[in-house]
């Protein structure tokens, strides 16, 4: 029986490789391209960056059109912008603000590492620092955006 490493990262990698070698389809892809997913801070921050980026650009497409109604005067614009004042939509607004804040903070980490390559060795610390800033900024933002919603319901 092969000896298992005590390092959890190495163990996780070995587990992933077992999964790869037991599935022929993944195995052939992994042979061609290597195994790109290594878990932990690197993979998850990257995944959230993509998901938040797609969410923001899809909203931006709609947001350009609703703002364009300003050119058609108060009646048209106020009718549409009233949607944003709906308490349910304000929950989506909170999600949007969270995606923008995450994308901005995580983008800053990516730029730091790309322009100062020595920081690569401190990626995990940078990611958790980023998480502290993210949660720290989202607490007051959630309070501010959520307060009128809660007041509208109760």
């Amino acid at each position: 029986m092969p000896e298992r490493s005590r390092n959890p990262v190495v163990r996780a990698r070995e587990k992933a490789q077992e999964v790869v070698s037991s599935n022929p389809r993944i195995r052939s892809k992994a042979r061609q391209f290597g195994w790109p997913y290594r878990g932990r801070e690197g993979q998850w921050s990257w995944l959230f960056h993509r998901v938040s980026g797609v969410g923001i650009i899809l909203f931006l497409f709609a947001h350009i059109l609703d703002t364009a109604l300003v050119g058609w005067g108060p009646e048209a614009y106020n009718k549409v912008v009233a949607v944003y004042h709906n308490p349910w939509i304000r929950l989506l607004e909170l999600g949007l603000v969270a995606m923008v804040m995450y994308h901005a903070l995580n983008g800053t980490r990516i730029m730091l590492i790309d322009f100062f390559p020595k920081l690569t060795d401190h990626n995990a610390a940078l990611f958790w620092g980023e998480m502290v800033l993210f949660v720290g900024s989202m607490i007051p933002i959630t309070y501010i955006i959520g307060k009128p919603v809660v007041e509208a319901w109760f």
Partner: protein, 149 residues
């Protein structure tokens, strides 16, 4: 004569302690390199423009509750906010559409679907850029008597 050749670019060392970090900088000075640089530089500017926009419009004072035609008209009466919003519109659109292109390259394997989706978002981006630019540039507060300016 022995010509010293650069070693072929290796995949990242499989060191379990170093996670993969982001996208590797594209080699050379081709289009992908300039897109890579653009994403970072526009991101830096959007850090101020977009985060500032979100904080002003959604968080400060009463947030989005105070946003109506009069609020926007008053803002766009100033060249500063017009410039801010137009610059943010342009950079965010190009940044976002290029991000979609990179994601489509990663996940859409069939060449026709890949090209079709990429062009769909490119064209959508150009149309929205045109509409947005027209509305921001042509907006004239004095055209609307009730706007308060």
């Amino acid at each position: 004569m022995a010509v010293q050749q650069a070693p072929p670019s290796e995949p990242r060392a499989p060191n379990p302690h170093t996670p993969m970090i982001g996208r590797q900088r594209p080699a050379g000075r081709g289009a992908e390199f300039w897109w890579w640089l653009f994403m970072r530089l526009s991101g830096l500017v959007l850090l101020v423009l977009a985060v500032g926009h979100v904080l002003i419009m959604h968080v400060l004072e009463e947030g989005v509750d105070r946003v109506d035609f009069g609020f926007v008209a008053l803002r766009w009466n100033s060249l500063f906010w017009k410039t801010w919003d137009w610059l943010m519109l342009s950079l965010a659109l190009v940044h976002g559409v290029n991000g979609l292109r990179v994601i489509i390259l990663d996940y859409v394997r069939r060449p026709g679907v890949r090209a079709g989706l990429t062009w769909f978002f490119n064209i959508l981006g150009v149309i929205l850029f045109g509409i947005g630019t027209y509305v921001v540039v042509s907006f004239d507060c004095s055209k609307w008597p009730g706007a308060g300016c």
